[in-house]
């Protein structure tokens, strides 16, 4: 029995050793906690220094390259190789710097065609960029095909408005309705006919199954008199738990009855 025991132990050592050797032979990367650059950015920081800091944040703490590409079409998020040049043309009447700041603080207000609203607000955890660091990233993005117009003294009004807007409880159903911007097309409190029908009394008219179908397969249940413009990809991009929460919430909207 002892002989068998020794053989088995040697076999265990050999197998474990093989896995250890293999794991040590592939690329080895240590990921360090990001360096906080925010304290280095002061009112007297020049545009050039901001660009340098911004580049560092873009590739490290900001984790931007997890989704954004540089010079090739991005699968998950737009290519930013010409971000400074494109930003000015994205939204009529909006300057490049405002567009870029908006995209970082409140990223899902304007989503580039062909992409889903998945970008996180970068001032929040887990990325948690400070206002100074976001300013630096804006400077870096402007430098990509555009003119850098910001310096250490620049402040963004959107920093406050975005915080006020996004800091709604995302866990609750109302927070979810806001997160997925249902109120952009539906009147949630009154009876106004917007792009889609009002939903303030949807629970009194329709059951849960209908409401769920309207979210996950909107083409099947188009309300009479409204265009078929409800996005069809909620089933893919909204987690099932959140859909259930929204369905329960909507089923409870009885128009004050």
């Amino acid at each position: 029995m002892f002989k068998v025991f020794i053989k088995v132990m040697l076999f265990s050592l050999a197998v474990t050793g093989a896995y250890t050797w293999y794991s040590n032979s592939i690329p080895q990367v240590t990921s360090k906690p990001p360096e906080d650059i925010g304290d280095l950015i002061k009112p007297e920081t020049t545009s050039d220094d901001l660009v340098k800091f911004g580049k560092k944040i873009f590739y490290a703490k900001g984790q931007c390259t997890l989704c954004h590409s540089m010079g090739t079409k991005g699968d998950r998020a737009p290519d930013l190789a010409n971000a400074g040049g494109m930003a000015a043309k994205r939204k009529a009447g909006m300057s490049a710097v405002d567009y870029l700041a908006q995209s970082l603080y409140d990223p899902n207000t304007y989503v580039v065609d062909g992409y889903t609203p998945t970008m996180p607000a970068v001032y929040k955890n887990p990325i948690a960029l400070s206002d100074g660091e976001i300013l630096a990233v804006v400077a870096f993005l402007q430098s990509l095909g555009g003119k850098v117009t910001v310096d250490g003294k620049t402040k963004f009004a959107v920093a406050e408005t975005a915080r006020a807007k996004v800091e709604k409880p995302a866990d609750g159903p109302e927070g979810l309705m806001a997160k997925y911007q249902c109120n952009t097309c539906h009147d949630m409190k009154g009876t106004a006919k917007l792009v889609g029908p009002p939903l303030s009394d949807i629970g009194a008219k329709k059951d849960k199954a209908y409401i769920k179908e309207a979210i996950v397969e909107p083409a099947k249940v188009i309300a009479e008199g409204y265009p078929p413009v409800m996005p069809a990809d909620y089933a893919q991009k909204v987690p099932a738990k959140e859909i259930e929460k929204m369905v329960d919430y909507l089923a409870g909207l009885k128009g004050g009855k």
């Binding site: 896995y19 080895q28 062909g114």
Partner: protein, 581 residues
């Protein structure tokens, strides 16, 4: 049956319970005393250093060994209960003997689990006080539930264990077994809530203040982890049982003993493989929920610093599948009539090997600047195409189907169906498997031409095709082989020694994979104790290299295997002294 010495040395159920309750109480009191008398008197700090290894490695090793033993003591009762139910249904007493063989080992395994659990708790309170305070602030009520469940499990175990000889084979004993499993799984579910909260927190505001305890428990990954770990534990229990049987087989002194342990190894591997097949789907579910919680986390996991970890995982799972198939193919050697099917083994080997190779193909490869220039980038022009999800999903699913087919062929090796529709049935089974493979290849190729979000949706169809095919084939197989003619009995014990090493390979690889994937799940939090809520500001908050992680995983695996070997050796010694007595 069991020897009278076995029965005599057991105390009564009530004495056994008392012994167990005292043991757990002493461990809990010791923890309390150490925390109050030593740690409580240390100066306030967010982190404290541990000599030689540092705090992180100390916690890592203790937590991993505790977790492996936790899996063991959860897996064995699950395994024993399944065996007992089969024994009751088939009236085959061998299953009860098999169950008892492992239940005997639980005694010491529970104690070892508890000791490592206590060490983990002391280490967390002592070395990471800020983190432990945060967890206590959120989860304090669940700690009481945990202690209640712990006593429940101990009592249920002693009732189950000490009533074995009196009640085995009766439904009441199965109820005791179910109760033991209820407490065991509940303990796992409670601990999973803490781990899932650390990874995908919920129920707290952005500053980490508790908003809803249920929200903190029922996070995105809680249920997927519960499902994944339960299935994995069944598989793990089977693999450990298989390894134990393999050891006893190789050390057997008589043909009778060899036959017994050969059969035991087969049952263990059967349960391990049966549970292994749906495991990747539970893994998909877990990963999907991670993505649902945070795309960023999902992307870091699959495409960021952790992407190479999945190449290692592919190698490990590939080894698991190859070892499982190899064992089944060798097993056919002891079955008269299996020649009809064993000719397909080489083709199944080719399919499984190709699938493993595709799965372990990295998207980008390590290349010098010159090599990269020659290739036109770090993505190899051919291999780069295989290293993406479309190809990998297809490969994994076909590998699962191939292993399933091995399984089906093994099961029918000494049987000839006698029902009138046997040919049609076999044809439909073949067709269903071919359609499932076709669906996977179709969506695998189509996936290259669509957006990522659409491609993700395809993986659902591919999974449904595989699961559906397996269910249909089994549904046809059961009635088709009812009352089948046999070509001869299985010659248990007539297995080459190398087949037993396939069983060891399964158990070692399972253990190592658990360690690696545990690291992936914890490591994905990067520099956060609680992702996005409580930042890790300890000196070793960095995410180490895969090589570094692999070294620790190997240490914990060997430590665990060594301790299990010790428990088994003591069990065998007790068995021998019982026989001598």
């Amino acid at each position: 049956m069991h020897s009278s010495a076995d029965v005599d040395k057991h105390p009564s159920v009530s004495k056994g319970i008392l012994k167990g309750v005292i043991k757990v109480s002493v461990i809990l009191l010791l923890i309390y005393a150490i925390v109050e008398l030593f740690i409580g008197r240390l100066p306030q700090a967010d982190y404290r250093a541990f000599p030689l290894t540092g705090s992180r490695i100390a916690i890592w090793i203790v937590a991993q060994v505790h977790l492996l033993f936790g899996a063991f003591v959860l897996a064995v009762p699950l395994f024993a209960l399944i065996c007992e139910i089969i024994a009751l249904k088939t009236k085959d007493e061998r299953y009860n003997q098999l169950a008892y063989e492992f239940v005997k080992l639980l005694h010491m395994a529970f104690t070892t689990t508890a000791i490592f659990g206590a060490l983990l708790l002391i280490a967390l309170i002592g070395l990471y006080p800020k983190f432990f305070d945060h967890m206590t602030k959120i989860f304090k009520p669940t700690y009481y539930v945990y202690v209640f469940l712990l006593f429940g499990e101990v009592i249920a175990f002693y009732v189950y264990y000490y009533s074995w000889h009196k009640l085995v084979g009766r439904p009441l004993h199965i109820v005791y077994g179910a109760l033991l499993n209820f407490f065991g799984i509940s303990i796992m579910v409670a601990a999973n809530a803490w781990a899932a909260y650390m990874q995908t927190p919920g129920g707290v505001d952005e500053s980490g203040n508790l908003v809803s305890l249920w929200g903190a428990i029922n996070t995105y990954t809680w249920m997927p982890i519960n499902i994944h770990r339960t299935i994995a534990n069944i598989s793990y229990g089977g693999s450990i049982a298989g390894a134990y049987a393999a050891f006893r087989f190789l050390a057997a002194e008589s043909d009778e003993e060899r036959a017994r342990y050969d059969w035991m190894g087969y049952v263990g591997s059967f349960i391990a493989i049966a549970a292994l097949l749906p495991l990747p789907f539970a893994g998909y579910f877990l990963t999907m929920e991670m993505y649902a919680f945070s795309q960023q986390m999902g992307i870091t996991l699959m495409g960021g610093v952790f992407s190479w970890l999945f190449i290692i995982q592919a190698v490990l799972i590939g080894v698991l599948f190859l070892a499982a198939n190899y064992y089944l193919w060798l097993g056919m050697m002891r079955i008269k009539g299996s020649e009809r099917y064993s000719k397909y083994n080489k083709w199944l080997l080719v399919v499984v090997t190709i699938c493993v190779i595709v799965w372990m193909t990295p998207h980008s490869i390590v290349a010098s600047l010159e090599e990269a220039r020659k290739m036109g980038g770090t993505h190899h022009p051919i291999l780069g195409v295989l290293g993406v999800m479309s190809a990998k999903n297809t490969a994994v699913n076909i590998m699962i189907l191939a292993t399933f087919l091995s399984f089906i062929l093994y099961k029918r090796a000494n049987k000839i169906a006698t029902v009138s529709w046997a040919k049609t049935g076999a044809l439909v089974q073949g067709l269903v498997l071919a359609i499932a493979v076709g669906i996977n290849i179709f969506y695998g190729i189509y996936g290259y031409f669509v957006e990522a979000i659409v491609r993700l949706g395809f993986s659902n169809y591919m999974v449904y095709a595989v699961l559906g095919a397996m269910l249909i084939v089994i549904a046809i197989d059961i009635p088709m082989f009812k009352g089948a003619r046999t070509t001869g009995p299985i010659a248990w014990g007539k297995m080459p020694g190398r087949s037993q090493y396939a069983l060891f390979l399964l158990a070692i690889t399972f253990t190592w994979t658990m360690g690696l994937m545990g690291y992936a799940r914890s490591g994905i939090r990067e520099y956060w104790h609680v992702y996005g809520i409580l930042r890790d500001k300890a000196p070793d908050a960095f995410t180490p290299t895969l090589g570094y992680a692999a070294n620790i995983v190997s240490v914990t695996t060997l430590l665990f295997l060594g301790l299990v070997a010790l428990i088994v050796a003591l069990g065998i010694r007790a068995e021998k002294s019982g026989k001598a007595h």
